[in-house]
């Protein structure tokens, strides 16, 4: 495996396809399949991201993969990636250790429109791995509480063992700043789980959002969106008050490779964060 410092020969090259070095400063095992990697740029500069953006992670010999940024820029000095082991590159990444160097390009993509969210009640809904990118916004809300109204977090996972960020979820549940409701799809007798069991949609009926001042954000597996959107619309939320972040297999991150098109939109540049009314009529968006 190639795990070497990705530095440039002189003169410095400014190609948009050249990654810069980042060092892994911490690794946390979130589940048996997911790890949280904390990274810093080797040149000491900040990544300069906003909640909702992604990077292209580069491992020499393995290529690149798009990964959502799981931490808020308000947590200065580092950024974090929540990564499921799913293919060759992420398997190679999971084998890496603190102190190793990876390549990064980005940040890319349209972030959450924080100005538009100002003063809004927020309904932040995640399923499975979707909690990783949503965490960047949740942390931002934690750090800038004065900017938002009531914040409700709904998070679903396949099982207790598959639940990401368990400690933070517990903190958010205990925090007066958030209303936080968790659910899992299934439990086994050995899980010792006392929380809600059911699909993420089961958490929505008891809620009483005020439609004209509530914005919902949904991030999760493709199968989740339509069902959650239907529940939110039954609560009176319009498509202009529902925000989604979409997963696509970006190869370049800069609107050139064509792998993330949604009709006329490029998910890597026009998204990955979209207002529902921008994409709900587009074939294949959801």
């Amino acid at each position: 495996m190639y795990n070497r410092t990705e530095t440039l020969d002189t003169p410095p090259c400014h190609s948009l396809y050249i990654p810069f070095d980042c060092q892994i400063t911490a690794i946390t095992e979130l589940t048996p399949r997911e790890k949280l990697f904390r990274l810093i740029r080797s040149d000491g500069t900040p990544l300069g991201h906003l909640p909702g953006q992604f990077i292209q992670l580069s491992l020499l010999g393995w290529g690149e993969a798009p990964l959502s940024i799981a931490s808020s820029p308000t947590r200065a000095g580092y950024f974090e990636l929540g990564v499921r082991r799913a293919g060759q590159l992420t398997t190679a990444l999971h084998r890496m250790t603190v102190g190793d160097t990876v390549g990064v390009r980005g940040p890319f993509g349209r972030p959450f429109d924080l100005a538009a969210l100002k003063g809004e009640d927020l309904l932040l809904i995640s399923g499975g791995c979707g909690l990783a990118p949503l965490r960047s916004l949740i942390q931002y809300c934690e750090d800038r509480p004065e900017q938002f109204g009531r914040i409700t977090i709904l998070s679903g996972a396949r099982s207790p063992a598959d639940t990401l960020f368990k400690e933070e979820l517990a903190q958010w549940e205990a925090s007066a700043r958030f209303a936080c409701h968790l659910t899992v799809d299934t439990v086994t007798d050995s899980d010792c789980f006392t929380g809600n069991v059911g699909l993420i949609t089961s958490l929505i009926p008891p809620l009483t959002p005020v439609p004209h001042r509530t914005t919902a954000v949904i991030i999760g597996p493709p199968v989740m969106y339509r069902a959650v959107i239907a529940e939110l619309k039954s609560k009176g939320l319009g498509s202009d008050r529902i925000i989604v972040s979409l997963e696509r297999q970006m190869r370049c991150g800069v609107g050139k490779c064509g792998h993330c098109t949604i009709e006329h939109l490029y998910c890597c540049q026009d998204g990955p964060v979209f207002r529902l009314d921008e994409i709900e009529q587009l074939r294949g968006a959801l």
């Binding site: 396809y17 799913a86 800069v254 792998h259």
Partner: protein, 326 residues
């Protein structure tokens, strides 16, 4: 406007080779006409558009992004001389104009402009089409154009560079030759353009049922010949190649007709059927691009129709769409 005999043209090209990296229509030993180096085959100006993707001159099928040796990244140095490319037809030049827009938009693609910047593009037209038929003049979209009139190549400059190069040529075109060129410039849209606009309107109005795409998907054998030949297809994949000396990262043309084109790490695939992939190929050029760029991104070069073994190239599909739903 200047004129050249075929022999003078050869001398002109040889003269240009001192300042430019020359790419011209050539005949390869296997009988293929392509745009390539004069070192690789004899000049083959007659016969119309070359069958391959002409924009490969600036967006090659495989292109190294960087090499990494002991973890140190380096990019290839820029070409020692700018490119001079001869052989784009009028429709090819429309394609080039379009992908120039595409690669420049938003975040500028430095790999593309590494070759494109400073390149001189010469169109080709006149009675040099298949069996001596007329290739319509581009009348722009290039630095200069070569128009075959009888045994004479007329040289029509458009850009400052083209004008400077034409100044070096001794013979002015006759008024009759100039008139012949002028009369050859199309003044009305051809039937193909009208057909594509009609098909585009149907797609934009969502008047094409899913059953049509299912039929089309049944006929597609995913050979990807359409994408590989299309001058405005710009999709690519990125991959690393490992060797004993290091790693080379490159980008390679990709095809939206392959099942893994959009497959995500989770396994979800927004283009998970032949029907959806066939729709994407047509819809992207005729409906999505007009919405994003304000123009259809097929310029009727005919390469996909010539390449497709099952007869579902762009013009064939457009004709079918209009006949059935128009």
């Amino acid at each position: 406007m200047k004129s050249l005999t075929p022999l003078q043209l050869e001398h002109f090209l040889a003269h240009l080779a001192e300042r430019y990296e020359l790419r011209v229509p050539i005949l390869l030993p296997d009988g293929t006409r392509t745009i390539g180096s004069p070192d690789d085959g004899p000049l083959a100006l007659l016969g119309g558009a070359v069958p391959g993707k002409p924009t490969a001159a600036f967006f090659p099928q495989q292109e190294t992004i960087f090499t990494a040796i002991h973890g140190r990244l380096s990019q290839a140095p820029p070409p020692p001389k700018p490119l001079f490319i001869l052989g784009f037809t009028a429709t090819d030049l429309e394609c080039l104009r379009f992908i120039d827009r595409f690669f420049a938009d938003g975040i500028r693609d430095d790999l593309y402009f590494r070759l494109r910047q400073g390149a001189v593009v010469a169109g080709i037209s006149g009675y040099c089409g298949a069996k001596g038929t007329l290739l319509p003049p581009a009348a722009g979209n290039c630095d200069l154009e070569l128009f075959l009139a009888g045994d004479t190549w007329l040289v029509i400059p458009y850009s400052g560079t083209g004008t400077e190069l034409a100044k070096e040529l001794p013979n002015a075109a006759t008024p009759e030759e100039a008139e012949l060129f002028k009369c050859s410039i199309p003044t009305v849209p051809d039937g193909g353009e009208t057909l594509l606009q009609a098909a585009s309107a149907l797609l934009c109005a969502d008047r094409v049922p899913d059953s049509f795409w299912e039929e089309l998907g049944e006929r597609c054998i995913a050979c990807t010949g359409c994408n590989l030949a299309c001058p405005t297809c710009t999709c690519f994949g990125v991959q690393d190649w490992r060797s004993s000396t290091g790693v080379e990262r490159s980008r390679t043309w990709d095809s939206c007709q392959l099942d893994g084109f959009m497959r995500e790490a989770s396994g979800h695939n927004p283009l998970g059927s032949e029907a959806l992939r066939s729709r994407r190929r047509i819809h992207h050029k005729l409906a999505a691009d007009p919405r994003k760029w304000g123009e259809i991104s097929c310029f009727r070069c005919g390469r996909c129709d010539a390449a497709c073994p099952t007869g579902i190239g762009m013009m064939a599909v457009a004709a079918d769409l209009v006949a059935r739903f128009g």
